[in-house]
């Protein structure tokens, strides 16, 4: 108890320690559940109120790969994610250009309409999507699930890209023109390199959104289009907690790779124009 009292006194005296403590609490809040899953996925015979599993094993990972046909499911998930990224980006580039660079009356209203699908409870929205898909035979097709994902991915992409295009300095484009670059060469040498970080960021965001999407997939998948999040959910129902945990960990790996890519590729200084005195 004296230790705790000393610690509290130290916090009161030092702002740095207070900040560190708060950060630690924050980290614990975010990572503890994840840590539990990670432990569960490698533990055997971990019941009751023990803090740590008594025995470590990688069996559950073997189970996860063998029993649940994880290769097929990963393929589904990636294929759907790639489709969702392509469709979202194809929609978002012209839309973002219009919203970011043209003077459109009621721009704010349009933006909020775009975000509306995110405001409706996902399950309700997914139910509506499923009803349409049953009628149009899109259930249990990769393109169908991808299209469902686009409804949440595209708004993100449009937001990111309209901000990217808005940041593009009109004068810089004019400068390219005066320097003798026709519209095509202006695009290749000036516009494209300047918007590339934004487009990549948008694609990465849409990819992770689709990759982790659960509710919409649950309402539109079929036996040929099971994705990783859905399979993980189904595994919970089957009662194999350890296998489910192993799958969750596997599910995280691509997300971490993508996060790494974001930090490498989308350096913040590349996103802004970097002009002084303007």
């Amino acid at each position: 108890m004296t230790f705790i009292r000393q610690y509290l006194n130290a916090i009161l005296r030092s702002r740095k320690l207070l900040v560190q403590t708060l950060l630690l609490c924050f980290a614990l809040m975010i990572y503890t559940p994840f840590l539990m899953i990670a432990l569960r996925s490698v533990g055997r015979g971990w019941f009751g109120r023990r803090w740590l599993p008594p025995e470590l094993t990688l069996d559950w990972y073997r189970w996860a790969v063998e029993v649940t046909n994880i290769v097929e499911i990963t393929k589904n998930t990636l294929l759907i994610a790639v489709l969702a990224v392509l469709i979202s980006t194809a929609i978002a580039i012209p839309t973002g250009w219009a919203l970011g660079r043209k003077n459109i009356p009621g721009k704010e209203l349009l933006m909020s309409i775009l975000l509306l699908p995110r405001m409706i409870p996902p399950i309700a929205f997914a139910l509506g999507v499923a009803q349409i898909f049953y009628r149009t035979d899109l259930i249990n097709t990769h393109i169908g699930v991808a299209l469902a994902h686009v409804s949440v991915c595209a708004p993100y992409a449009i937001l990111v890209l309209s901000a990217t295009f808005e940041a593009l300095d009109e004068r810089v484009l004019e400068a390219a023109g005066v320097c003798g670059a026709n519209p095509l060469r202006s695009f290749v040498h000036v516009v494209f390199p300047l918007i590339l970080p934004g487009v990549l960021a948008s694609m990465i965001f849409t990819f992770t959104t689709s990759y982790n999407e659960f509710t919409l997939t649950l309402m539109t998948y079929g036996k040929d289009t099971v994705t990783l999040p859905v399979r993980t959910y189904l595994a919970i129902g089957e009662g194999y907690w350890e296998v489910t945990s192993a799958m969750s960990i596997l599910l995280v790996i691509p997300s971490i790779i993508v996060l790494f890519m974001i930090q490498r590729q989308v350096a913040p200084e590349k996103l802004v124009g970097g002009f002084k005195g303007v």
Binding site: A175, G177, C179, N182, K270
Partner: protein, 361 residues
């Protein structure tokens, strides 16, 4: 004799909705001269410049560059160099690539391109910055790079759109000379847009003063300053004092006229347009007026006055004086000449500096 002109605007009108940004603007810019478009913001100077660059297509009128009608020619085919107010460098390219961009677009081979870019960078004393990105160099350096990029492929015309207004005052004056020197050395035709009259007077071969979408006056800096043709020009360039009066007599022998301003008879230099009985605007620059002690002997254009207010400005003294019954006049003298408030003085309005503006509404 249109051969003498590098750029011609012929009756150019440009509207933005109800706003007429350029109203029947006609302007001829000679080969090799530096023409400044000067005026307050919203006077249409940038609109006129954008008609030359091709970023605006005039609603009426024609634009000629090097005797070719380019009114509808897109800017990338006009062979221009342009310097922007916000520098407008390509943020993702190094200084070297920025300057080399116009050459790369023209598919010049690498070795020759390198030589030309380094030559341009030497000209602006930035050789050692070739690998820097625009964000890594100062505003003044960025603008020098902008200048090098505009000049590197030796365009027919150099356009400068308020190139110095984003720089601080000291740098602005340095860059002013640097730009003038570069333009002289290259002998290029240049159009310079600014709202800064000091910049315009210091840099230009000729100045076109613009107001509310039309050109008020075109002339050399001397002409614009000494013989403004409208109240707007006189007011916009330098300090001016105006007094409304009437031409009473004209004397052709000594080339003077007398303008009566509230009973005061002021002798002015005669101009051909003057006729007796005409209502005119008398004007004089405050620093052309001389203040003399009250004991000074009377004479032509020497009047009794009282000092209303005196402000000491170091190198100058700024006076508000009262002439005769009710005429207020601002006078600026050398800082060494000192009169106190309330003191009786004599005011001398030297005839060569006494001018008249005919057209005033």
């Amino acid at each position: 004799m249109s051969d003498d002109y590098m750029i011609e605007l012929r009756n150019v009108t440009k509207r933005y909705g109800d706003l007429v940004a350029n109203d029947n603007v006609t302007l001829q810019i000679r080969r090799g001269e530096l023409m400044t478009l000067l005026g307050p913001s919203g006077c249409g100077k940038t609109t006129a410049l954008r008609c030359i660059t091709g970023h605006n297509i005039p609603d009426e009128g024609r634009v000629l560059i090097d005797n070719q009608d380019v009114t509808e020619v897109p800017s990338y085919k006009r062979q221009l160099g342009m310097v922007f107010q916000n520098f407008a460098l390509f943020p993702h390219m190094t200084v070297f690539d920025n300057v080399g961009f116009p050459l790369m677009i023209r598919r010049m081979n690498k070795a020759e391109r390198r030589e030309r870019v380094m030559e341009a960078l030497r000209l602006i004393r930035m050789e050692e910055y070739e690998k820097h990105y625009p964000r890594q160099i100062s505003g003044g350096q960025q603008q020098r790079v902008g200048l090098a990029r505009a000049l590197v492929y030796r365009p027919k015309v150099l356009l400068l759109d308020e190139p110095l207004s984003n720089l601080d005052a000291k740098l602005r004056e340095e860059m002013r000379f640097e730009i003038r020197e570069l333009i002289d050395r290259l002998g290029i035709t240049a159009v310079y847009v600014t709202h800064d009259q000091a910049e315009a007077l210091a840099l230009s071969d000729r100045v076109a003063v613009m107001n509310a979408g039309h050109i008020e006056q075109v002339g050399t800096p001397d002409e614009i300053y000494d013989f403004p043709r409208s109240r707007f020009v006189a007011d916009f360039i330098g300090l001016s004092e105006f007094l409304a009066g009437t031409v009473s007599t004209i004397s052709t022998e000594d080339a003077t006229a007398v303008v009566t301003v509230k009973g005061l008879e002021i002798h002015v230099a005669l101009t051909p347009e003057m006729t007796p009985g005409q209502n005119v605007l008398f004007f004089i620059r405050p620093n052309d007026v001389a203040l003399l002690p009250a004991s000074h002997k009377s004479g032509t254009n020497i009047f009794d006055a009282i000092v209303d207010k005196m402000t000491y400005l170091g190198d100058r003294s700024d006076y508000r004086i009262q002439l005769g019954e009710s005429l207020g006049l601002r006078v600026q003298t050398d800082g060494k000449v000192r009169f106190d408030e309330g003191e009786n003085v004599k005011v001398h309005l030297p005839i060569p500096h006494c001018r008249v503006i005919m057209d005033h509404a």
